[in-house]
């Protein structure tokens, strides 16, 4: 009788351990899926695309103006310390990518919430960035 009860207790422990394993696996899946949302890919794309654009603007030996269309996504945008960061308006997720600054060309820090497009102006040794909004 005692032996049978002990066996049942061991079986219960095994089953509990299996449930814990299952819970851990589900938790892993939830963590992976929660890391992304429907806008992650777009934010990642814009961050990289804009970082490469800034690299290209640095390559230009002359002055230039370029307007980057944000396609009405409504994302926030920050450019500072060699990084382009694109973030959701609710600040819950962001994506960023680096670019190489140039020591003798100054780029001003920039931050804007939901611009419809962004204007880059390179004049001499200065790069200015302006947010444009549709009326």
């Amino acid at each position: 009788m005692i032996k049978q009860k002990r066996g049942e207790a061991v079986l219960t422990l095994f089953r509990a351990a299996e449930l814990i394993l299952f819970a851990i696996a589900i938790l892993c899946l939830v963590v992976i899926i929660s890391k992304i949302d429907e806008k992650t890919y777009e934010m990642n794309f814009i961050a990289r695309d804009m970082a490469l654009l800034i690299d290209t603007i640095y390559a230009s030996p002359g002055d230039l103006e370029y307007i980057y269309d944000m396609k009405g996504y409504g994302f926030g945008l920050e450019i500072s310390d060699g990084y382009v960061t694109v973030y959701r308006p609710d600040y819950k997720a962001s994506q960023s990518y680096r670019f190489a600054e140039k020591k003798d060309v100054e780029i001003e820090d920039f931050r804007a919430e939901g611009p419809s497009s962004v204007k880059f102006v390179k004049k001499g040794n200065m790069i200015e960035i302006k947010a444009l909004y549709l009326d």
Partner: protein
């Protein structure tokens, strides 16, 4: 001496199978989600173009006019690329640039981020995370040394770690 019961063996096998199935599901879900966009190759090409158009490598005349693709030997030395490229992080990109005069096998060599170039060079050809992206390109240039102009080749080898 304690013995391993029949149930312990059965449950161990059961745990192993369960763990294998869950791990497979996690791997499939993770690989199906496109989280990353590879831009290393484009970034390498932009780097090369920045060098070709850089006033820190190329000849600039007295009117401040830049001559892209005309390498000024007075500027082609170690340290010039660090003025042109200032990454916030050290492990962003590394490059080896060799300037050959036409018909000569030995060239003059400069590095950008030499320490990491030498660390990453053995990883060329290895893909995926932990590997690197490697771009090589030869560009025909003019070499300006004093008043002389010679034909030359600028060889770029650019390495960016995979993310």
């Amino acid at each position: 001496m304690p013995t391993i019961s029949y149930e312990t063996i059965i449950w161990t096998i059961r745990y192993s199978i369960f763990a294998a199935i869950m791990l497979t599901i996690l791997v499939i879900v993770s690989s199906a989600l496109i989280m990353n966009i590879n831009v290393q190759e484009v970034e390498s090409k932009v780097f090369i173009n920045r060098v070709i158009y850089s006033k820190h490598i190329n000849y600039v005349d007295e009117n401040n006019r830049l001559y892209p693709g005309m390498v000024d030997m007075n500027k082609f030395y170690q340290g010039q690329l660090e003025i042109e490229f200032d990454y916030t992080i050290e492990k962003a990109l590394a490059a080896k640039i060799t300037l050959y005069e036409a018909g000569e096998e030995d060239g003059k060599r400069i590095y950008y981020n030499k320490k990491w170039y030498e660390n990453w060079e053995p990883l060329v050809g290895i893909g995926g995370k932990g590997g690197v992206s490697f771009v090589q390109r030869n560009v025909s240039v003019l070499i300006k040394e004093g008043g002389d102009l010679k034909n030359g080749i600028l060889e770029f080898k650019v390495i960016i770690p995979n993310t």
